[in-house]
Amino acid sequence: MAKEKKIGDSVGSLMEYRNLAWKCVRCGLCRGVNPEKLIQSDHWENCPTGTKYKFEAYFAPGRHELLRALTVDDPEVEITEKLKEIVFSCTSCGHCQENCYPIKGLEPMNVGLALKQHLIKLGHGPLEPHHILIQSILNYDNPWMSPRAARGKWAKKLKDLKIKDASKEKVEVLYFPGCNDSYVPDLKEVSQTTARVLALGNVDFGILGAKERCCGSTAFRVGAVEMFEKYKKANVKQLNGLGIKTLVTACAGCYSTFVNEYTGELDFEVLHIVEFIARLVAEEKLTFKNELDLKVTYHDPCHIGRYGGLYDEPREILKALPGVDFREMDRIREYSLCCGSGGGVKTGYPEVAMDTAKMRVREAKDTGAETIVTCCPFCEMNLKDGANAEPGAMQVVDLMELVSEAL
């Protein structure tokens, strides 16, 4: 589904999109939920940065104008701080392209990514906060400035599982937690549960532990594509050398990066853990014993949703969990509202990320749910921040945490 709309396609240079600029007709379909899918007027907004700043420039049509202004023979605008803000505050959620491509054949998200890459190429980026992240990846193989040696520590509690070291032993499946699920304390339960589920499913799996490197998603999303390409090359060599058949991850960002950005270069399939679990549930190989007694709603992350097409699997899992009262929000699936943190926006423009998260939390509350469930560490972290800033309690958890509780 993503490929049908060129979401996740490789992004060319800015000049390659030049002719698209003239074809934007300002119809505004990019600025809100698909009219045919609109359920409530209050839940129409779809563009985090456009919703926040409102000027035309921050929406897809504005980006097309900047594309035009920068690619004419005599560029019509200089690169100002404002222009940088416009470009780098895009979360690359893909919602605009989801609406636009089938109708107009345009790629506003890809244009946005190309603009980021273009500015960096001209020396106007990355932004300082992003620069820190990228340096950390180069120096520590993760954006958290945490030591490499600590990467596999999440697995210490799982000695009973006797998890294999994939760098030393051949395994069929590599479990790839990613940087967030490896390092962020609140998210370690995700990686631990994922490992347990794989074990329960009698999967022959291993991990790389301290040898695992960042997939490079962060670098790519903020536009540092040259750096990303070099990083990717090293990763491809390492991962292909393992002889695995499948890479499984619980991180939406890693999933999307491997599926879309590493296309054609990996010798194995890439799955998100929800695909795995949904399969196990359907085959009745996984049963849940504990009643959860929760009213939940599900937030579709952009990177397994619009980028990956995984909408049904998380829902099947939620519906299989005992005691879960599942309610849908209005903006779901292809028309899910981005949490606001993607594309480096959480670091670069925290107020955009926060406002968007709060908006999403309010929508979640409208369903009567007490818990937001998601499958992406970035979404989880940002929505938690949003929930904490909004009145009334709202929990935010990863789906794997609920799976863990129910097992």
């Binding site: 074809k23 934007c24 300002r26 379909l29 009219p35 007027s41 700043y53 035309e56 605008v77």
Partner: protein
């Protein structure tokens, strides 16, 4: 003798003034809602039409009528042009500044202010889109089990309802409920000097939004309709809603004859069905409409022969299935008497790859595909007599053939033009909106030139036939001076309302200094 009233003007916009003006705007609206950054400004001077504007000098985003007033007062004090801008999806290029100045982007004004089930009305701000209005209206009821809906135009669900109404748009259900200008109840306008004027029954104490058209007394509000921003800024509107009957069905009727006979058969049917209390919606399509909808992998040229040149899309509705069945029975008798027959809609839907469900006409998403072939889509439309449409169509074809030669391998007549659309018609078939569309690549200078020339010639041709333009579009506003006394009165009205000529100057040729946009 026509005495065209012209006025001269000068603008007080300098670099120094700009700085002072900016500070005042910041004070009125807040710094985050005022910008003069080039990266912001460059996004407002161009749209998909053949018209080109200039960069504004400032862009502001007010959120209330009072903030719009504050902006206008500042502009008035310093004699700076002001241009209102909503979604920017303006088919006449009339949201593009012609003289720079302050562009008032209305995106923050997107609230539904009230819905009244008693009067069946909804009151909205400027930016709210059709789909949102539809969604809100549907939550209210004319009677139990009978939800309400707005009359929305056949355009994007994202287009602004208020702007479509005040620019005198028309909906697909105009044949039943009249054009937009007849469905406006109240309006709030901020005038060029900052005065706020409210029109309509709801603007009088204790009356409420009683949905009686026009008045009291003379309908002064008329001069603001289809003024395209040159008389002020509309910040609120109350429009009528209509009961949405539960049972709706879409039909596709095709003539048994061909050529001009097919068109006249369609027209006969238009007359027949308009004069009964039967239909909700009717539209005459062309074969190229269907081709627009074809999936990418299909070559339109291979499928042309499969679609009729003229075909009708019709929606009937009823409160009960029984009522709908009765209407269908009567309709089919009429169709037969007009030599039309029912086509298999499911097969058609499969062929053209789009859902022909009636809901398509509610929130309008798929309609955007009409722009896909070349990137842009221009149209010209006006009100005309149904029975004279065939002669108009013949002259239209001659113009098309002059500019888009069938022998051209890249641009053929069949693929360049989408033919004659008949929308509406207005109630009882007294007039109809006749629309001519064509596609062009806005990035191709040669096609742009051809498009402009075609539009201008079409505009003149239509006027020669006595067609009154439905909206101000490229190819039409330059022809306003041909309207004699009317044109002079418009110039005077403009001078009366906006003596400093700051309100969207030169959007229409009603003042000195108007210059033809060069190609």
């Amino acid at each position: 003798m026509v005495r065209a009233y012209k006025q001269t003007f000068e603008y007080g916009l300098t670099v120094d003034t700009l700085s002072e003006v900016r500070d005042k705007l910041v004070e009125a609206l807040g710094a985050e809602w005022v910008s003069d950054d080039p990266a912001i400004l460059t996004c407002y001077f161009r749209d998909f039409t053949a018209r080109v504007g200039k960069w504004p000098n400032l862009v502001v985003l007010p959120s209330t009528t009072e903030e719009v007033q504050a902006v206008m007062r500042i502009a008035h004090e310093h004699r700076i042009p002001v241009v209102p801008y909503s979604t920017g999806f303006n088919h006449g290029g009339t949201a593009l500044p012609q003289w720079g100045g302050i562009l008032v982007d209305l995106k923050r004004m997107d609230k539904v202010l009230a819905v009244d089930e008693e009067g069946m009305t909804i009151t909205l701000q400027s930016y709210l889109g059709n789909a949102r209005v539809y969604t809100v209206a549907n939550e209210y009821f004319a009677l139990e089990g009978l939800p309400l809906k707005p009359a929305i135009p056949m355009t994007m669900g994202s287009a602004s309802t208020l702007c479509n109404y005040v620019s005198r748009g028309f909906s697909g259900i105009a044949g039943k409920h009249g054009g937009h200008s007849e469905n406006i109840v109240n309006m709030t306008w901020v005038l060029p000097d900052g005065e706020i004027v409210k029109f309509g029954p709801g603007s009088f104490p204790n009356v409420g939004d009683v949905p009686v058209q026009f008045g009291p007394g003379p309908d002064i509000s008329g001069m603001f309709i289809s003024a395209d921003g040159m008389m002020g800024i509309c910040t609120e509107i109350t429009i009528k809603l209509f009961p949405e009957q539960a049972h709706e069905k879409l039909y596709y009727l095709v003539p048994n004859s061909e050529g001009i006979g097919a068109l006249t058969d369609c027209i006969d049917f238009f007359y027949e069905i308009s004069q009964q209390n039967l239909m909700l919606f009717i539209y005459k399509m062309c074969h190229t409409d269907a081709l627009v909808m074809l999936p990418e992998e299909y070559n339109p040229a291979d499928f042309m022969h499969m679609f009729p040149e003229h075909a009708l899309t019709l929606i009937l509705c009823g409160l009960t299935e029984e009522e709908l069945a009765l209407k269908e029975e009567i309709m089919l008798e009429m169709a037969e008497s007009c030599n039309l027959e029912l086509a298999n809609i499911e097969m058609l839907a499969q062929m053209i790859g789009v859902s022909m469900h009636k809901d398509m006409f509610k929130k309008i998403y798929q309609a955007g595909k009409v722009m896909k072939p070349k990137g842009s889509f221009q149209w010209i439309a006006g009100y005309y007599r149904l029975d004279r449409v065939p002669e108009l169509m013949e002259d239209y074809k001659k113009i098309v053939m002059r500019y888009w030669k069938p022998s051209d391998p890249q641009i053929s007549y069949a693929l360049a033009m989408s033919g004659t659309h008949i929308q509406g018609p207005l109630p009882f078939g007294r007039a109809t909106t006749i629309e001519f569309d064509f596609w062009w690549d806005p990035g191709n200078p040669e096609q742009v030139k051809r498009a402009i020339l075609t539009l201008r010639e079409m505009g003149e041709m239509m006027m020669d036939h006595g067609v009154m333009f439905a909206k101000n579009l490229v190819g039409t506003y330059e022809l306003l001076p041909r309207l004699g006394v009317y044109y002079d009165l418009v110039c005077r009205a403009k001078a009366m309302t906006d003596p400093l000529h700051i309100m969207h100057p030169d959007v229409m040729p009603v003042g000195d200094g108007y210059s033809q946009q060069s190609e």
